[in-house]
């Protein structure tokens, strides 16, 4: 079995398109996940009564079911109830639904590791609630939450590979497509790995950099 470099060169552009789709879905999915995470983490740390229970239920459902099934449900199941969302919408909502719980946990952990004495110091220094949040709590919480959040970003970008199941042309879709049409499994998988490395390595490196940047103990 010969490795066909020409095939690789010829179809690399497809993977560029695929990567754009992967990024599109991931970026919006992750933004949604961060937003959902922020809301849930906020609700949990502020201990808002009923909302807190709801957030818990959501987190349990989201964490304990696979994205593929969530997507099938959104894409093929919901239309039976008369709700037809486009594949993009389903993918972004699905990723946000899954990622929201993971982000919430990472952010909550970030806030909870801040010693109580930090808020108390702010209190005796006369800072008001908003000042305490923005000048004392958040700057530190960002630092402690960054590793978890970055790990989740990588995890979600990877998870986005299942959106090909609902006909979205991401990199995984391209790979399966080329395998199906031209039977060049080998070359397609190679391109797939390269594509993911190109997308994820910078994220991984940026994560390490961010971790340093916000770690006041080490920079």
């Amino acid at each position: 079995m010969q490795f066909d470099w020409q095939f690789v060169a010829q179809y690399a552009p497809f993977f560029v398109n695929g990567a754009i789709m992967t990024l599109f879905i991931s970026v919006f999915g992750i933004l949604l996940a961060v937003a959902v995470g922020l809301v849930c983490a906020g609700i949990e740390t502020a201990r808002i009564p009923v909302a807190r229970q709801l957030a818990r239920v959501y987190i349990e459902i989201s964490r304990n079911t696979p994205l593929l099934v969530q997507l099938y449900f959104l894409y093929f199941g919901l239309p039976k109830l008369g709700v037809v969302w486009s594949a993009q919408t389903c993918a972004i909502v699905g990723l946000g639904f899954l990622g929201g719980s993971y982000m919430a946990e990472a952010m909550r952990a970030g806030v909870e590791t801040i010693p109580a004495v930090q808020r108390e110091s702010a209190y005796v220094l006369g800072l008001n609630g908003w000042q305490t949040l923005t000048r004392v709590v958040l700057p530190q919480a960002v630092g402690t939450a960054v590793p978890g959040v970055v790990a989740n970003v990588i995890f979600l970008v990877k998870e986005s590979s299942v959106v090909s199941a609902i006909a979205l042309a991401d990199v995984m879709y391209m790979a399966k497509d080329l395998i199906g049409m031209y039977y060049s499994t080998y070359e397609s998988l190679f391109l797939l790995i390269v594509a993911y490395l190109i997308i994820l390595l910078p994220i991984s490196l940026a994560g390490t950099w961010l971790e340093r940047r916000f770690d006041y103990e080490r920079r």
Binding site: Q118, Y123, V124, L127
Partner: protein, 300 residues
């Protein structure tokens, strides 16, 4: 400002910086900014019938505590672990709601106890009022995301809206006095424990608090660092800073105290206005037993 021996240099405090600043070394008569009907007699700090309970606890942690602390004096609170020393300081600082009694400064009541507030969270007192009471904790209380200077200047700039340049100048003067002028741009994690606590003291001092609270500020430090910090506190006492100190260093307590309170199970067991006498000839049997814990007899 060149007097190396003066930690709290009153001339360094700017004249017109709003009602939240007050002179502590001077007697209350010169305390023009205070809006209360305070006279010379009521100058100082007073706690009356203070009662505090934690939620889900069967009995109060602090039960009907009353005492006064005249302006410029140092009160040391001692007592066994769990007797309520930290809780007492925390209620004064407004960190814990109280369920009975009052806390007043210079005759002005700043906190009134209300039953059923066990779960109420921190006191809602105004930020201006809060800055009149300073507090230094056992440890980890510098903000790790600010430099030394940033930690000290944060509250005057943000809360008191004072001028940055002027605040920084005062901060530097304070740092100089605790021997840390060269560390102004260091990050907290780059400092030793003793240095951190000295910065924390500066951070409290820059607000010119009327009372300064210290809760076992040296408990986590090595002996030499303990000394660095305690020396600063002794100097503050000499300058006439009103202070409430919780400590387990009996030698130090004896050296710095004007007044001593022995707490046990949330009540005052012995109160003495003659600190020296308390440490040498305690009146109650409980105080004798307590102090004995810190004495060792040559064994053979």
């Amino acid at each position: 400002m060149t007097d190396e021996n003066t930690i709290v240099d009153r001339t360094a405090a700017p004249a017109a910086t709003g009602s939240t600043q007050r002179s502590t070394a001077a007697v209350a008569a010169s305390d023009k900014a205070t809006a209360t009907s305070c006279t010379v007699e009521c100058s100082g700090f007073e706690i009356a019938h203070l009662t505090k309970r934690y939620a889900n606890a069967d009995r109060p942690v602090l039960n009907d505590i009353s005492f006064t602390l005249p302006h410029g004096k140092v009160l040391v609170v001692v007592g066994p672990s769990g007797s309520g020393k930290s809780t007492l300081l925390r209620t004064v600082a407004g960190l814990e709601p109280i369920q009975g009694g009052t806390i007043s400064i210079n005759g002005q009541v700043i906190e009134t106890g209300r039953p059923g507030t066990e779960k109420a969270g921190r006191s809602k007192r105004s930020t201006a009022l809060r800055t009149r009471i300073g507090m230094v904790f056992q440890s980890y209380d510098l903000f790790p995301n600010r430099t030394v200077l940033g930690n000290i200047t944060m509250s005057p700039i943000l809360v008191q809206k004072r001028d940055r340049a002027e605040v920084e100048q005062e901060a530097l003067a304070l740092l100089e006095r605790v021997g840390l002028a060269d560390r102004r741009d260091a990050w907290p994690h780059e400092l030793s424990g003793g240095q951190r606590q000295r910065v924390a003291i500066c951070r409290a001092l820059i607000l010119h608090p009327e009372v300064l609270l210290f809760d076992e500020v040296t408990a986590a430090l090595d002996p030499e660092m303990v000394r660095e910090v305690l020396d600063v506190m002794i100097e503050l006492a000499d300058q006439g800073q009103t202070m409430m100190i919780v400590t387990h260093e009996m030698q130090f307590a004896r050296a710095i105290a004007d007044k001593v309170i022995l707490l046990e199970d949330g009540g005052i067991v012995e109160e003495s206005d003659d600190a020296e006498r308390f440490f040498t000839h305690p009146e109650t049997e409980r105080a004798q037993r307590f102090l004995h814990t810190f004495e060792f007899d040559r064994h053979r």
